[in-house]
């Protein structure tokens, strides 16, 4: 059957199981929007392409499905850039579809023309400029395959307007029929011998630590991690992205490692004699000074991406594969082996936990941001999906939330994108309508992409947005306090901040302000029970700092406790 390029795009989205797309129309993408009109495919109109992209990202992270975002050429496409880079850094499967000026106008600096293909090469897993309508089916087959498989990532498809309008015979293409596609999502390496070696290392280890990263979320390896930790009484630490893979209340959990990680996680890594990194990529925010990172330990790196092995830290043993499969293989081998818990090591860890607990100074008169997060966690019993912006609130949310499930802590880890908070909350809520979604943000992050409050209001997306409002660009201010002799250069936001309650109400949301500690719990409880989207402006301690902290390039021995 003959169809136009635009109709094919919509059919292909449905063919690949997409039930929800985010986007913003404009000149060169109008044929696709026209095809959407009667298609039954649900489209969420954001208020800014960046918001649409982060929403698709939040949707993908909460559901494990592939997020889809649509934008027009030129500024529409360039507004996706931050969103794509965010998704790329955290390995989130996205398909971005952009309109482009007609093929005959490409290269003439025509109206709303930008080389989004060239611009997004370094921030996508792959991208396309489709110049032939007959190639659309093949392109989409490839794009979805690439975005979803292996180490996932965003894929952009740029489609000139004349290609959207041209027509051709349409039939979906099977991925197997694509010529010359040598892309292998999971290099089929045998890892049986490596697993045997790992078993030997585990048997010899006196101070083992399991270090879990985002790969564990993506490969749904939570159960395997849990079984492995139980079987071997293995202490588990995690990256920011991997919060929830292993329950943070478990006695074996050390919580997040790194610059703002728990002291006991960092002590354990420092002292360990065997560090098993599972789907983690040794970000500098985790390692600090590379030369002294786990320097006494044999390091085992399990990852699906061979290029991650040895990229930052030299490793003693690498296992390339899907983490879930690797863990299943390992657990099968361990079945016949009896392990005595390393009681001395576990005792040492218990001692560290008692010696260096996560603490902050309580106050009866000023709201402490950590207390707000603990209250959110208590009220939701760790069952809510949390999304965050970037900065102090993000670190407090990571440290003080009761993380119970994977895919329940959605945050921009690698790129550290402020303004990810509200749109990712919207996306997560749309992906998980039965879940309570709480967006924790700061007054800085909230104001980047607060236009998406209109999206939440219009579609009645019941995300609960909690602003830890300290009137500062808090994390930068903290660094200025510590390293720039309190010269608060351009970080004081308070005087310019709008009245967030009035702003939210203006957008049609319910909104509340809390200024006293005793108001926090009842207001949050009341807000969480409301059926629609809510903004809660919490006026928190202005110059509270995130502790503990290891300054850049330091080790656990440089930890500043408070």
């Amino acid at each position: 059957m003959r169809k136009t390029g635009a109709e094919i795009v919509v059919e292909l989205l449905q063919h690949y199981g997409v039930d929800l797309v985010f986007g913003y129309p404009g000149g060169t993408i109008m044929p696709v929007y026209d095809a959407l009109y009667h298609s039954g495919l649900r489209h969420i109109l954001a208020r800014h392409e960046q918001g649409a992209c982060h929403a698709a990202d939040g949707y993908a992270r909460a559901t494990g499905k592939t997020g889809v975002v649509i934008a027009t050429s030129g500024p529409g496409a360039t507004n996706l850039v931050t969103g794509l880079a965010t998704a790329y850094m955290d390995s989130v499967p996205l398909i971005a579809i952009t309109g482009q000026v007609p093929t005959f106008a490409i290269g003439t600096d025509s109206f709303q023309e930008a080389d989004i293909y060239g611009i997004t090469i370094p921030i996508t897993k792959y991208n396309y400029l489709v110049k032939d309508v007959a190639k659309l089916a093949e392109t989409f087959a490839e794009a979805f395959y690439i975005a979803r498989t292996g180490r996932p990532g965003p894929v952009l498809i740029d489609i000139p307007k004349d290609v959207q309008l041209a027509s051709t015979e349409y039939a979906p293409v099977a991925q197997a029929d694509i010529p010359l596609l040598k892309y292998t999502p999971e290099p089929q390496y045998e890892f049986d011998a490596q697993l045997d070696e790992l078993v030997l290392l585990l048997r010899a280890a006196k101070r083992p630590v399991l270090f879990v990263g985002g790969g564990a979320v993506i490969s749904n390896a939570s159960v395997g991690i849990h079984r492995l930790a139980r079987k071997l009484s293995l202490p588990v630490t995690n990256t920011l992205i991997a919060n929830g893979v292993f329950p943070s209340q478990d006695p074996l959990s050390l919580g997040m490692a790194g610059m703002h990680g728990t002291r006991y996680a960092n002590e354990a890594i420092f002292a360990s004699d065997l560090l098993i990194a599972a789907g983690a990529r040794f970000d500098d925010r985790v390692t600090g000074k590379i030369a002294e990172f786990a320097q006494r330990a044999k390091i085992v790196h399990i990852d699906i991406d061979p290029a991650e092995v040895g990229k930052v830290v030299p490793v003693d043993l690498s296992i390339i594969g899907n983490l879930k499969d690797v863990l299943d293989g390992l657990l099968a081998k361990l079945e016949a082996v009896d392990f005595e818990p390393q009681t001395k090591w576990l005792g040492q860890i218990k001692e560290w936990k008692e010696k260096y607990p996560l603490t902050y100074t309580q106050s009866a008169s000023i709201i402490k941001p950590q207390c707000v997060i603990q209250t959110i966690s208590e009220l939701t019993q760790g069952e809510a999906i949390i999304t965050t912006g970037v900065g102090q609130h993000q670190m407090w949310a990571s440290l003080y939330c009761d993380h119970r499930h994977p895919k329940h802590f959605i945050t921009s880890g690698g790129l550290g994108t402020m303004g990810f908070c509200v749109p990712s909350g919207i996306g997560a809520q749309l992906g998980c309508p039965d879940k309570l979604v709480v967006t924790i943000t700061g007054d800085g992050s909230f104001q980047m992409n607060l236009q998406e409050l209109a999206t939440a209001a219009y579609y009645n997306i019941p995300v609960k947005i909690v602003i830890l409002n300290n009137g500062y660009l808090g994390m930068v201010r903290q660094w200025q306090e510590m390293f720039f002799e309190r010269r608060y250069s351009e970080t004081h936001l308070e005087d310019g901040n709008p009245d967030f309650v009035m702003v939210a109400k203006g957008f049609g949301l319910e909104a509340f302000r809390v200024t006293r500690p005793e108001e926090v719990r009842p207001t949050l409880a009341m807000a969480f029970a409301l059926p629609g989207p809510v903004v809660i402006d919490c006026r928190v301690e202005k110059e509270e700092n995130v502790w503990p902290m290891i300054p850049t390039g330091g080790t656990v021995k440089d930890t500043i406790e408070h």
Partner: protein, 176 residues
């Protein structure tokens, strides 16, 4: 001792990568962009289609240590367009580059320049009153040598193709 030295990689760590890729308009940007993004130094790059019009061979000479080479190979392998990648060993591959060199050739210098051209089997492709254009083919060392020898006469312009290379097919057992 001497034989061991012959079998070693040259002191300067330059690696020649031979990459087969899907041939399409953006593929060179994808490959070159990876090198820029990850901070690898490209010494030379050349690309051309193979016996199959849908496959391009890109030859890249990259400088770095062994660790960088390993990362480059792994990162390149990840590119969706890459069909095959190999790091060609110095003594197991044929490596060629073509250079076109325009050199000042006043009357009294001509015979000296022609002598150099003869030694290097360089063709004289153009001759003017005061200049000669030479084309020379060889590995990078050979090209660098002739350039060095011609420099005193005054080189006006050079165009180099960058290295192309293929692994030898014949198998010569190592000399013991």
């Amino acid at each position: 001792m001497a034989i061991t030295a012959l079998n070693q990689e040259p002191e300067l760590k330059q690696y020649t990568l031979s990459i087969l890729v899907r041939n399409h308009a953006g593929v060179l940007s994808h490959v070159a962009g990876l090198f820029t993004r990850r901070g690898y130094n490209i010494e030379s790059i050349s690309a051309g289609i193979t016996e199959r019009s849908d496959i391009t061979r890109i030859t890249i000479v990259v400088t770095g240590d062994h660790k960088i080479l390993e990362q480059v190979l792994k990162q390149c392998q990840k590119l969706v367009d890459v069909i095959k990648i190999a790091s060609l060993k110095y003594n197991e591959s044929v490596t060629r580059e073509l250079a076109i060199i325009s050199v000042n050739a006043r009357h009294e210098n001509r015979s000296k320049i022609i002598e150099i051209a003869d030694v290097f089997s360089a063709n004289i492709v153009d001759m003017a009153e005061d200049a000669i254009i030479l084309e020379v083919v060889g590995n990078a060392r050979r090209i660098n040598s002739i350039i060095q020898l011609l420099s005193p006469f005054g080189i006006e312009d050079i165009a180099r193709t960058g290295v192309v290379a293929l692994a030898y097919r014949s198998q010569i057992p190592p000399i013991n």
